[in-house]
C-alpha cells in the first residue's frame, strides 16, 4: 500500500511515496537519487547500506520506511564534504584505504559513530566496534590505520 513519507535526509526535508514495508535503502537510492548507500546483502550482514538515524548506524536495507519516523537520516554524502570533510573521510583518502570502495558506507558510518562516542580507543575496541562489517577486497589493515588516524584527529 503506497503512502507518503516525510524524510529528513542530510538536513533536507523530502517526501517519498512508497510502500511502508519498503526498506529505506530503496527510498534513498531510487526515489531520492542518493547513490550511497549501497545494496550489499539485504540482510544486515555486511554494512554497505549503512546510514545514521539520529546518529545511530543503521542498516537501511532492513529498515522499513514506515519505521523511520522523524529520525534524521545522514548518509555518507551528508557526513562531510571535500571542503568540510569528516576526519574519517580525510583519513580514508590519506591512507588510500579502499580497493573497490563498495563497502565504505558501512565502515565509515559505523566508525564515525564509534569515534564520536569513544575517544582514544584501543586497537581491540576498534576491532570490536567494526565487527559485523564486510570488506571483500581485504583492506582491513588500511581501515585500521585510517580509523586510528581519524581517532587522533578527533582527539
Amino acid at each position: 500500500m503506497s503512502q507518503k513519507f516525510s524524510l529528513n535526509v542530510n538536513g533536507k526535508d523530502q517526501t517519498v511515496e512508497a510502500d511502508g514495508d519498503m526498506p529505506l535503502l530503496y527510498a534513498l537510492r531510487d526515489d531520492l537519487g542518493l547513490n550511497n548507500p549501497h545494496f550489499g546483502c539485504g540482510l544486515a550482514q555486511c554494512g554497505a547500506c549503512t546510514v545514521h538515524l539520529d546518529g545511530k548506524p543503521t542498516r537501511s536495507c532492513v529498515t522499513p520506511l514506515a519505521e523511520v519516523g522523524d529520525r534524521k537520516i545522514v548518509t555518507l554524502a551528508g557526513l562531510g564534504t571535500p571542503e568540510q570533510p569528516h576526519p574519517l573521510q580525510t583519513a580514508y583518502v590519506q591512507e588510500e584505504v579502499p580497493q573497490c570502495a563498495y563497502c565504505i558506507n558501512g565502515w565509515i558510518m559505523t566508525a564515525a559513530a564509534f569515534l564520536r562516542d569513544h575517544k582514544k580507543p584501543t586497537d581491540a575496541e576498534i576491532r570490536t566496534a567494526l565487527t559485523g562489517l564486510k570488506c571483500r577486497c581485504g583492506t582491513h589493515m588500511a581501515i585500521l590505520r585510517a580509523v586510528k588516524r581519524a581517532a587522533t584527529m578527533m582527539g
Binding site: 530503496y26 547513490n35 546483502c41 564534504t81 573521510q89 588510500e96 571483500r136
Partner: protein, 761 residues
Amino acid sequence: MTRHENSAAFSRRALLKAGGALVVSISTPIAFEDADAADSVVAVATQPPLTPDQLSSYIAVNADGTIAIYFGKMDMGQGLAIAIRQMVADELDVAFDATKIFIGDTATSVNQGGASGSTGVQEGGKQMRMAAAEARRVLIAMAADKLGVAEDQLTVTDGVVHATTDGAKKVSYAQLIGGQFFNVHLDWNGKYGNPLYAPGKAQPKDPKDYKIVGQPIPRDDIAPKVFAQADFAADIKVPSMVHGRMIRPPVAGAVPVKIDEASIKHIPTARVVWDKAFLGVVADKEWDAIKAMRQLKVEWSQVSAPFPDQAALYDHIRKAPTRKREVGKEAGNVEDAFKAPARVIEAEYEWPFQSHARMGPGCAVVEIKDGQVTCWTGTQKAHFVQAGLAATLAVPKDRVRVIWTSGPGSYGRSDADDCAMDAAVLAKATGKPVRLQYMRDEGIAWDPKAPASIHRARVALDASGNVVAYDFLSKGFSRIDVNTNGSEPKDTLAGQALGVELKSGDGFGFPGDSYGFANKRTAWETIAPLLDRGSPLRTSHMRDPVGPQIHFASESFMDEVAAALNVDPVEFRLRYVRDPRDIAVIKAAAEKAGWQPRPSPRKDQAGNKVSGRGIAYAQRGATRVAVIAEVNVDRSTGAIWARKFTVAHDCGQIINPDGLHHAIENNIVQATSRTLWEEVRFDQNTVTSVDWETYPILEMGGAPEQVDIVTINHLGIAPSGAGEAASRPVAAAVANAVFDATGVRIRRAPFSPDHVKGALS
C-alpha cells in the same frame, strides 16, 4: 561543493571538448619529412579507425597539451590507472598531472584483455609504454621539421620540444598536434586481449632515466568515492529504466514448467520474462521487482539431485574419470627414481569450492535504442562482454558499446558477466532499458566458483636424506569449465538457460617454483563438472586461479619433508631452490621476520594457547613472493589467528610503491580469509551458501596485527604482475605455522575452527 574528478570517469567526447579540440581551427593536416615515413601525414583531424595498429587508439594530445590515454584494461581498485599514467608520462616527458586516462570503454579503447591475470602493468603497461615512446618519437620528428633542428639536437621538457643548445627554439606537443590525432601505424602482432602488442619504431627509455615511474603517486579515484560523488555500475540510471530480478531454480538444473502470473498481478507494473530456462521479472520500481521475484509462483521440472553429498566431495574427485591430463616440464625420470628409494614421504591435500562473493552481487544496466546497445557493467573485461552481448542479442558487435563502471570488487570471472547477459535478455524482451541487480544469494550461490581439488605429493629420499625425486599431481574441477569471460553465450547463465550448446573447457595449473630436484614431475588432471548446464558449481577463474590450492599443497608438502628430515624449513628451501630471485625473496622474508633456524614443530609449548611460524614461497609468472606467517592457535576451540605476516615480493621494476604495497597487503588479507574461512556449502540439490552467514569470510577481529612488506625493486627487469601473486603462498604459510605451533598437519582447507578442532583432537 568541490567535485572530485576521477579522470577515468570522463567520456572521450567530453575530454576532447574539454581539451578544446572543437575550438581549434583544424585546416591542412600536418605533414613532415621523415626518413622512415616519408610524406606520411601524421596528424589528422579525424580519428583513424579504433584498431590496435593505430597509435591514436592509445594516445592523443589534446589542444591544451594534456595527454589522453585510452586503455583497454581495467583498474579494479589496485591503482593501475595511476601506474599506467606514470609509465606514459615518463615516456612522453610530460608532467604526471598532464595525463588523463580513459579505461574500459569499448568505444574508446581496443581489447587489451581487460583485468586479467595480473597483466595490467606487465602486458597493458608494456604496450602503453611502447605507444608513448612512439608518440614521443613522432613528435620529436615533427618538431625537427618545424624548428629546422636535427632530431638528435632536440629534447623534451614537460611536453615542450626544444633544442638542447638553444632553448628559444621550441615547440609544444599542443602546437604540434594538439586537438588532432596521430596517424601513425604500429607493428601490431595481430592479437587481441592480454597478448596484444603493437610497438612503433621507438624504444622506451633507459630505466635509470625514469623520474615518474617509481614514485608513490596517490590514487585519484578514492576521494570521489569517499565523498559519495562517484558512480558505481549499480548507480547508473537511464531514462525509462526498469528494474529486473532473476529467479533461480530450487534444484540446480530444474527448469520452469508453469508460471502463475496472477500471483504477482497485485504488484504494479511487474511482469515476467520467461524463455526456456530463463526466468526473470521486471517492474518500474526496484522494490516491486524484488517483491515479484519473491512472490511469483513457479512450478519447476522434476530433476534428479545433481550433486554428491558435500561430505563425499573429495571422494568424488578421487574417483571421477580424468577428462584431461597435462604434465608440466619434467626433469629426469620420476617413475624410475621411485622404484627403490631409501624412503618415501607422501601426502594429500584438499581444497573446497570458493566463491568470489563480491561485496555486492552483480549489477548491469542495458539499454537497446535504435539498434544500438549500451551496457554499463562492473565486468573485468568490457570488450569480451561486448562480444557476448552481440552474440546474445544477435546484433553486430559494432552496435554494442560496453562502458566499464566501478563494481563491487572484482577477483576474476565473477557474476558480473552473467548479469550483463541476463540484463540484455530482459531489455530485449521488455523493450526498455533494464537495470538488473542480482540478490545476495546469486552473488554467492550462483557465481562461477573457484574449483575444488585434491593434490597428491610424494618425494623419494636417498639414504642421506636428499630429495632425489618429486612427484606432484593436482586433480580437480576445471578452472575453465566456463571460460574466463562472457564473450560467448555458452559460458553464461543466460546462454545456457536459452539452450546454447555447451562446451566445458579443461585447465588447471602447476606449482610455480624452482626446486631443482634431479627427478621432478608436476601434473594436473581435470574432471567433468557435476552438472553440465546452469550449474551453481560451474568453475572458472578466481583470483590467482588455482594458485592458492596448488601452493597450499606444494608448499605444505615441502614443509612436511623438511620436518620429516628435522631440517629448518627456510634452510630446506634454500638447499633446493635454484632461481636467484627466488632465493632472494626467501632470504629477505626470513631476515625481515627475524627467523631463527630450527626444525618444526616447536617443542617448548604446553597448554591450549600456542603459537608458531611458517614459511611458503611461490613464483607467479615472473613474480616471486615469500610469505612468513606467525599464528596463534587455541587448541581448545580450534581458532586460528594469523597474527603477523612478513612478505618479500619481487615483481621486477616497481612502478608505484604505494599501489604495490596496498596490492600486496590486500592479497594477504583476502588470502587469509580464503585459507581460514571460505568454503562453498552445498547439498545434493544446490548450493546452500547463500549469504555471509553461510559463506563466512574474515572479519575485522581476525585481521592480522601486522603485515610487514619488503619489496625488491629491479629497475632493469620488466615489471610483472602484483595483483594476485601474494595470495599464492598464504595458505601454506599459515598451515605450516599451525604445524609449528601444534605438531598437527592441516591438509584440508579452510582451517575453520571446527575443522581445526577436529584435526587437533
